[in-house]
Symmetry: C2
Subunit: 309 residues, 2 copies
């Protein structure tokens, strides 16, 4: 059930209509681990600078996140700052300081190389490929990316796609990668170029899993307050892979449920700043919301419908 994540560990300064936090714990590997570790042990590979408050990762260690792949380099940690608009549907990046992340060369410790479940967080596709060279025979490789790499490193990304099982992207990334506006066509295009499966995240509008011969849809969970969308996509990935690692299976039934766990973790992530909500989240709360997802979409067979009186 070993679950490996490679990605960024960062310090985020975030402003939303509800407030502002400075140097809060962030990064794809952090959000992923904060979510996945509620369901499964996690092995983390990343890099921080010597200014990083490593004690802040203590909650992850207490949840069986193995940080022995977290390298500390001399220099500044990766910092991102952004401001969200009033409806939280768009954001502006104010500053990105890569710091030691610019020198990140993921080295997978020997004891992580047999990982069965792998999440390649959003980093340079050449580094993602390099990670795949170092692991032995994973059951499932899930990969994230972004427009920056789709535009700037397309050849590497296309090579990478041949080696991943699930591409996990948002709708605009799926469209840009494929050149197709229609999401069904976009997913089919991506599947024809490597990944057996595609998950398209649509934020508040839900997430869609495309497999060879099925489509599964999970809605966005209706929330009265979205506090901070940062990290929702990585929390989704953590819920998705954490569930699969816990179940020990990537059968179609489990994949469908995994999407619901992903949506559940993503929906909790946005309820507070950064990873705050995920820090205090419990398995009981996860199970409760998964059941509410079921109530949200379940309807009985319509077969019995007869003309009424």
């Amino acid at each position: 059930m070993s679950l490996l994540v490679v990605g960024s560990v960062a310090l985020d300064t975030i402003e939303t209509p509800f407030g502002r936090v400075e140097d809060a714990l962030g990064g794809s590997a952090t959000f992923f681990s904060a979510a996945a570790s509620l369901l499964s042990p996690v092995q983390l590979v990343g890099v921080v600078g010597d200014d990083f408050p490593v004690a802040h990762l203590g909650f992850l260690e207490r949840r069986s996140v193995d940080l022995s792949g977290l390298v500390k380099l001399s220099g500044e940690s990766f910092r991102w700052s952004g401001v969200y608009n009033f409806d939280l549907n768009s954001r502006e990046t104010l500053e990105t300081r890569l710091g030691v992340f610019a020198r990140f060369q993921p080295r997978i410790p020997e004891q992580f190389r047999d990982a069965r479940w792998i999440f390649l967080g959003n980093i340079d596709p050449d580094l993602q490929l390099d990670v795949l060279e170092q692991v032995r025979s994973p059951d499932l490789v899930v990969c994230d990316t972004m427009n920056y790499w789709i535009e700037g490193k397309r050849d590497s990304l296309m090579r990478l796609l041949k080696r991943v099982d699930v591409l996990l992207v948002n709708d605009s990334e799926a469209r840009e990668l494929s050149g197709e506006y229609n999401l069904l066509k976009a997913a089919r295009w991506i599947q024809a170029h490597g990944p057996a499966m595609v998950i398209v995240k649509k934020g508040e509008h839900g997430a869609i899993l495309f497999t060879d011969d099925s489509i599964f849809f999970a809605p966005g969970f209706p929330l009265e307050e979205v506090f901070d969308p940062t990290g929702a996509g990585d929390a989704f990935a953590g819920g998705f892979l954490g569930y699969l690692a816990r179940a020990g299976s990537a059968s179609l039934d489990h994949l469908r449920r995994a999407v619901v766990y992903g949506s559940t973790l993503g929906s909790y992530a946005v309820e507070r700043f950064g990873v705050e909500r995920l820090v205090e989240l419990t398995l009981a709360e996860i199970d409760e919301r998964v059941l509410r997802f079921r109530e949200l979409t379940m309807f009985e067979e319509p077969i019995a419908v007869q003309p009424g009186s």
Copy 2:
């Protein structure tokens, strides 16, 4: 099981990236009836000019749509023309010629006044109120509206809301009416001002039914080609109320299924120009797509999940 619709019967000139049609059958009452009549008899109240090709409504009569409430006035029929952008997500109205529709004063024929199910298509809220004065004791009144009335006839609309059971609007209308950006808050605001239930249509992103103590979500059906979105909302209303009239019940279980029937009819409507697809649609095709909606969202109870090996 009598189902009454009051709304527009129009001639639409539509341009999409896929082609153009001129003076095609359109209007809210037409789309509603074309969809609902696949599930239940319908009573239609509307107005056309003396230029209207009434023979084009023959397919409705053959499906038990009672047109005895369709008045013909001397003058020009209601004409609308619009052009959709390349992704079909927005459209520009080129021309609206109200013609005889400007003089529309819905008169409900005596034999329609005991209707149990009523759809008030998108017309002046004063006329919608007037319709409610003429009917006796319907089981369920569903009402549509638009930004034009929300801005221009807010007082009448608020009076109307006190007398309808379900407000059926799209997301931007729900937001404008309530002044709330968050759709859950918007629905709660609307419910506090009259309708026990609100359905928010989000186009390709699905539809949400808000009742007192539950939320039901149906996704947009994944289509490779959306041909012409005109009338999708009214086809949704027709599928929704047609299903309820057929079932003879507005229990919560039936309401949830009715949303799926609404989404199904809406998804078929957009596959061809105007009402073309609804003209040839069969009940078997409807049932087949309802089952596919079920496959799209169904997942098993997650209770049995145990840590794997």
